[in-house]
Point group: C2
Chain length 117, copies 2
């Protein structure tokens, strides 16, 4: 089956989709950070912009020293060189997606890339 | 503010994030298809692979004529040339993400692209 791949994810702390779906243009992780926990390091990227989508709970991102509050429905794009760290609040698990894509890699999209039948 | 962008989305039928977040490596749409409704056309892409994540509800994708059932937690990667159409079930709104990225654009990712402090 070359035209599509499918996977189903359950309640897991972190699922990485690149290998499970044979992605070629992105890595996507689905994450659940327990209440009171944080990603245990600060990181940046060489080439990739990251897009974070908050699915549930609440927390804080610290981006180049700036605190950004997070709740369900929030989306962030972070430039490769920015130093970032994510924290769940003390009250609720933070559930979020992290999408890594190569900065400036997108050319056309939606109507300029679609073929409609 | 060049190091990050942020937006918050509410209950909307469709939100496109490319322009709202100044994305450069992806277009991401957040969609809610009412119960009994479908995307009103079949489409494919020229360059972009699409990754769909089902956030809630249930439905069906038809991909090159094959029916694929959809429920929360399902993720699909669809190759550019595959002809696709999405349908919500008669019982529930289908909530999903669609992530467009250029096929084969990703180079390093996660540990091969990260700088950890």
């Amino acid at each position: 089956m070359n035209n599509f791949t499918k996977t189903s994810i359950a309640e897991e702390a972190r699922v990485e989709l690149h290998d499970r779906l044979a992605l070629t243009g992105a890595e996507i992780s689905v994450n659940a950070l327990p209440a009171g926990a944080s990603v245990p390091f600060v990181h940046a990227h060489k080439q990739n912009e990251e897009i974070y989508g908050i699915l549930g709970g609440e927390g804080v991102a610290v981006i180049d020293g700036e605190r950004v509050s997070l709740k369900a429905g929030d989306w962030l794009k972070i430039a490769p060189a920015a130093k970032r760290q994510f924290f769940a609040s003390d009250r609720a698990e933070l559930r979020y997606l992290c999408i890594q894509v190569k900065e400036n890699s997108l050319e056309g999209f939606t109507m300029t890339d679609a073929v409609v039948y």
